[in-house]
Amino acid sequence: MKMEFEFPTPLTTVPSTANKTGVWRTFRPVINYEKCIRCYICWKFCPEPAISFVPGDKYPAPSEAFLKRDAVEINYDYCKGCGICANECPKGAIDFVLERGDGQ
């Protein structure tokens, strides 16, 4: 059966989000929300990017005032575990632990 093509040359049209690079991880960054001051430096330096913004009250915070600011959340479907976020966090609020592969 002959293949029918939409275009004469192969065009890539499928978003790469179909490729869950989270499986690459050996180490996993874990945000400690008690320490996180929501400066967004981790979001800024993520190469995937696998960090996104979520409503401020989704996670605990160092104090009440911080809850007003949006929090960040790591998307473990894509996080490759490079550790830049943990290395750059000014408050050391991101732990970098061995990936156990069990979603913990």
């Binding site: 192969p10 890539t12 978003p15 490729n19 800024k44 330096f45 190469p47 913004f53 600011r69 750059e88």
Partner: protein, 302 residues
């Protein structure tokens, strides 16, 4: 509620296949934040020809034209002229090539495109070797570096030639806007790319993009090393507008080059004397850069 120091909108999707901690991926992420949706990107053979993944996947939210290795300058010239014909001169054209594809095999097409003054932005993202093909030495590999074609060995053959100063070559050619940028300074990078977007004519941007894989550093150090490159003056951040230099970051303290070199496996073989030699070279280049800034500003005032 939140405020960020760089634009929030993403034009790059996760799921791409860049290495852990890839500086080139970050560079593109920032560049597209600066340029926005109405952009066409041309990419030759380089890491970025592989990063979006294999067919049928795409990672950018803008059209990406893959081209042969040496043609970026010519490719962006063609896209721009065609867009002018179609009356789409509000679309930004960006050539995005590696250091090998620019300084070596791509130098002819780059020089030609800049000389013809097409309205294009040429970005050389610099990971300082032919990384995509396995860390072979390029003209932009810095003095002292191990690469797979300068593998040190018993005869201590590391890269003995200085880094080809492509940005300076572009200034010498009279390109109206030439700038260096660095992934550890995304606000500055975005500002420069935005500036380039607003200007008509040829623009050349040289982005320092850490390669943890090729430089033999842990991937979590990508930003730290990039910052150190600027702080030690190994990779000065500056821009040249119509020949007038402006150094953007003048480190207050003199951070020794040793701190930068000793973080990287590719410089592990260097003796203390060789490290001193590199310090001298860096100091010399920095002095020259300061003089260029002084001189060109003086000439402009007169």
């Amino acid at each position: 509620m939140r405020n960020t120091t760089i634009p929030e909108e993403e034009y790059m999707l996760p799921g791409h296949v860049a290495c852990l901690g890839c500086g080139a991926a970050l560079a593109m992420r920032y560049a597209l934040k600066a340029l926005g949706k109405k952009t066409i990107v041309s990419v030759p053979a380089c890491c970025w020809a592989v990063i979006p993944g294999v067919y049928p996947y795409r990672t950018l939210e803008v059209p990406l034209l893959y081209t042969a290795f040496e043609v970026t300058g010519a490719a962006i010239s063609g896209i721009r002229e065609a867009l002018e014909v179609l009356g789409q001169d509000d679309v930004t054209v960006m050539g995005w090539a590696g250091d090998g594809g620019t300084a070596d095999i791509g130098i002819q097409a780059l020089s030609g495109a800049m000389e013809r003054e097409h309205n294009v932005i040429y970005v050389m993202y610099d990971n300082e070797a032919y990384m995509n093909t396995g860390v072979q030495r390029s003209g932009a590999t810095p003095f002292g570096a191990w690469t797979t074609t300068t593998p040190v060995g018993k005869l201590r053959i590391y890269k003995k030639e200085r880094k080809k100063p492509v940005a300076e070559m572009m200034v010498a050619q009279g390109v109206p806007y030439v700038a260096t940028a660095n992934i550890a300074y995304p606000e500055d990078l975005i500002r420069k790319l935005r500036k380039a977007k607003e200007m008509k004519g040829p623009k050349f941007i040289h982005i320092y993009a850490t390669c943890p894989t090729g430089w033999r550093v842990p991937p979590n150090k990508t930003i730290e090393i990039a910052k150190l490159a600027v702080q030690t003056r190994v990779f000065p951040l500056y821009e040249v507008e119509n020949g007038v230099y402006k150094i953007n970051v003048k480190p207050k303290e003199r951070v020794p080059v040793r701190d930068y070199l000793r973080m990287q496996g590719r410089f592990r073989h260097l003796t203390e004397e060789e490290v001193e030699l590199i310090q001298k070279m860096v100091d010399e280049e920095w002095e020259k850069l300061l003089l260029k800034e002084e001189m060109t500003n003086r000439v402009r005032k007169e």
